[in-house]
């Protein structure tokens, strides 16, 4: 007999969540653990894997690197009962520690989530350089066809083409008033859209590339925030990966679409939800 049998999942909910403030220093494993515990505290009817070491069924899509904040992280959870995705969002959000926030929950429509994510938009606050220096460097980098940067990974040094991954790169003035009366009081903000690959080009790789191409003095990356993820549209913008699910829930099913499952089994518990 297989130990710890779990009821079969009946619905999937897709979540957009944020990683903010001090919790941007969490690794993906830290975030995953925090979610598992919050789901238990919230008492949501999670589907579990079977075996001696059961885990709740959560799928993660392209988690942000340790140290980077994000307003656009995505995950998909499987439940053994139908629950309004808005309730899932609210209860999970309340159970998560400060710094992890669930921004949206939608019932999964057809199609996979991962294939709807192709690129990231980043807001990178840089200290040690001002906006004019950054603007010149960005201009030079965009004029370069290829720029290899090195990164130390678990498997040793890897070289990747940072330029090829950059879709767009703009510079904004830094409004923050900085207390430190030293070389880090200068500041500029990069807005970058970067195509995701393997290995992914991360905000510090973009900075390394800028430094290499423009011979900039050593700078300190203060804060990187992922502001969006999605497929690239024709204008270099990003398409909200949950838009299709939202549209599906609105149009394809009954008014209480949130209570529907996406497996077509028709075993919906809609009693009491007359819309």
């Amino acid at each position: 007999m297989s130990p710890n049998p779990s009821a079969a999942p009946v619905c999937k909910v897709r979540l957009r969540y944020a990683k903010r403030g001090k919790l941007r220093f969490t690794s993906h494993r830290d975030v995953a653990r925090a979610f598992e515990r919050a789901l238990r505290r919230a008492g949501l009817p999670m589907a579990y894997s079977q075996g001696y070491s059961p885990h709740p069924k959560i799928s993660w899509v392209g988690a942000a690197t340790t140290g980077a904040a994000s307003e656009a992280e995505y995950a998909e959870i499987q439940l053994v009962e139908h629950v309004d995705p808005r309730v899932v969002r609210a209860e999970l959000d309340a159970a998560l520690p400060d710094g992890l926030a669930v921004l949206e929950g939608v019932l999964a429509g057809p199609g996979g989530l991962a294939e709807r994510i192709e690129a990231s938009a980043w807001r990178i606050e840089v200290r040690g350089l001002d906006d004019e220096q950054l603007r010149q460097a960005a201009h030079m980098l965009l004029a370069t066809p290829k720029l290899l940067v090195e990164r130390v990974t678990k498997d040793g040094r890897r070289s990747l083409d940072a330029r090829a991954a950059i879709i767009s790169l703009e510079v904004e003035n830094c409004q923050t008033v900085l207390p430190a009366p030293d070389q880090f009081s200068r500041c500029g903000i990069l807005m970058a859209v970067v195509r995701q690959g393997s290995p992914a080009v991360r905000p510090d790789d973009v900075l390394s590339a800028l430094g290499a191409v423009a011979g900039l003095p050593s700078s300190v990356l203060v804060k990187a925030i992922r502001t969006a993820q999605g497929r690239l549209d024709d204008d270099g913008g990003l398409v909200d990966p949950l838009a299709a699910d939202r549209a599906f829930a609105r149009t394809a099913l009954a008014p209480d679409a949130w209570a529907q499952s996406d497996d077509g089994s028709g075993q919906h518990d809609v009693a009491g939800h007359t819309g």
């Binding site: 919790l23 969490t26 515990r37 238990r40 990356l221």
Partner: protein
Amino acid sequence: MIVTEGSPRELIARYSTILVALVFTALCGMAFSAPLVAFAAAQEAAVQEKEGAAFAAVTLGTMAVTSVFEQLELLLPRVSKPVQYVGGELNATVKDWDSATVRWVLMYPDAYEVGLPNQGIMILYEVLNEQPDVLAERTYAVWPDLEMLMREHGVPQFTVDSHRPVGAFDLLGVSFATELGYTNLLTALDLAGIPLPANARTDDHPVVIAGGHAAFNPEPIADFIDAAVLGDGEEVVLEITGAVRDWKAHGCPGGRQELLGALAEIDGVYLPGCYDVSYLPDGRIAEVVRNNERAPQRVAKRTTMDLDEWPYPKQPLVPIAESVHERMSVEIFRGCTRGCRFCQAGMITRPVRERSAQGIGEMVERGLAASGFSEVGLLSLSSADHSEIREITKGLADRYEGSGTGLSLPSTRVDAFNIDLANEISRNGRRSGLTFAPEGGSERIRRVINKMVSEEDLIRTVSTAFGAGWRQVILFFMYGAPTETDDDVLQIARMAHRVIRAGREASGSKDIRCTISIGAFVPKPHTPFQWAAQEHPDVVDQRLRKLRVEINSDRRIGRNVGMRYHDGKPSLIEGLLSRGDRRVGRVIERVWRDGGRFDGWSEYFRYDRWVAACAAELTREGVSLEWFTTRERGREEVLPWDHLDSGLDRDWLWDDWQDALAGREQDDCRWTPCFDCGVCPSMGTDIQVGPSHSGPINSGPSGGQQLLPLSPVGPGNVR
């Protein structure tokens, strides 16, 4: 036997309940403990500031204490695992600085991942924060990569709760589960801007208090601490808090010295500065003489009775970062009566005090709801010895059936184990390796150390386990015990071979494993072995090499036996720090100044550094590393901790030592009559064991008592 995996360090971290050493700072509400930043550069200015502040303190009360996170944040991208420094744990408490009269910072002097799950810190943190006018935060040892950056950028030792500078608090309590954390204490003091010598501290510095098991001989760190707390900490921290509160309410009369005097009058609080130690020409201690009438002749340990009145932690801290114990822990009893002669924890925590089955059930229920953990650890020194362990494990397994909640018993013994118990434990969760601790390879050495486990019991137990589906067993052994010979250690190989043969027979499979994990014996204060000579690393390391050869003498069996061990060198240093006196303090400081950090971690520990420091600091005293470790002590010798009272009668300990040498075992007073170890009469305590009798008793199918009836817990119903 232990039904969970765990390195010795994990075991220590898991169970060093009790006592925390405290250090106080910034007395009388002053928070100048100027950020150690710019410490050297602005020393003059700091002095002026302090003078000004000392004056202003009377009229202005507290100064603003601000978070150092903004400075720290710039450094975190450059260190490994930055999440360990950001706090934000579920159930952490952050209070307004000005709302508190007495402010504690609690430290576990090891890495965050080891220190965070420590039950002692968690209990005291909650007990203190429940007081409306008390604030308690936590700090942990920072790794050398961050330490270097903090020094470079002038960031002081900080708490993880609010990132306030440690130097700003009234009291710094440090819990020592192991003596190898002493160098980390010095790092934290230095980073906090607290002078290392306690007698150089002023009213502006926290009072530094040590606790934990190592505080039962705090003499090696006597120079660096203001006080040590002996025994259970729940009640004494409140009394210490009261003394600080009263002193502040009266305008801090007499300054730091008066406060320390008041602390000396609290039961269980030891102030090394109130005692003078003199030495004989041969290096032994001549006498320890009290120099302050407010301190007692001997300091007796504290004992918390009735654990049901202390159901802490109620709101376990749940870290964001990974830690060594990812589970919700409930201490099911404190103390141990088995009387293993090497075990300091078992000796100094007597008598046995069991938490009731109902109390355990309530703590588990509340703790799981508050934490979201998926595993419950039933903690104690020998968990299967709880008089109602079957009812407790069955009750919990029933209650959490289908909820994905696992149970673990971190410390259990071969003879208390039965397979029903193991099955209950693994019913809802994982089935990892079974772990047993026979400790000695031969019947003879097991009599010496009083670990009365028979080999037949072990073989019977592992056979049952292998028959029931387990495939791996881990056996813990100790080497270097008094009177040990090569043969005692080689018997470990024979036992491992028997386990494999029995396992193959019971399981009908060749695919089973036995791992033997071997640790060095370190003689500890307040045990019958406190007089014993520690074996030299060269001797024991040689024995381990012979054991390896013996295990592999039969390849068909040896290939199924794994062997884990550490060499004896760190253990010799642990031995120095365990039984050292005040002269060892200079060795610790020299090692620290030479770069010694995280000595409990093999990648940081450097034996040569300790040997050199011993030579430099001890030779002129006429003593040495060997003198403190491999030398046998006589009955009349004054031991450095003789003025500290763990309740154990010194003559009884000596007699038990003689019994050990003669190979005579001792009974367990939980099940057999009292053998007069001295603890209960001298401490006014008694053993507390089941059956539990609070509330109505429901007879369950097992015929035993059930946990309080609760609604079944399953998916969707965990709240």
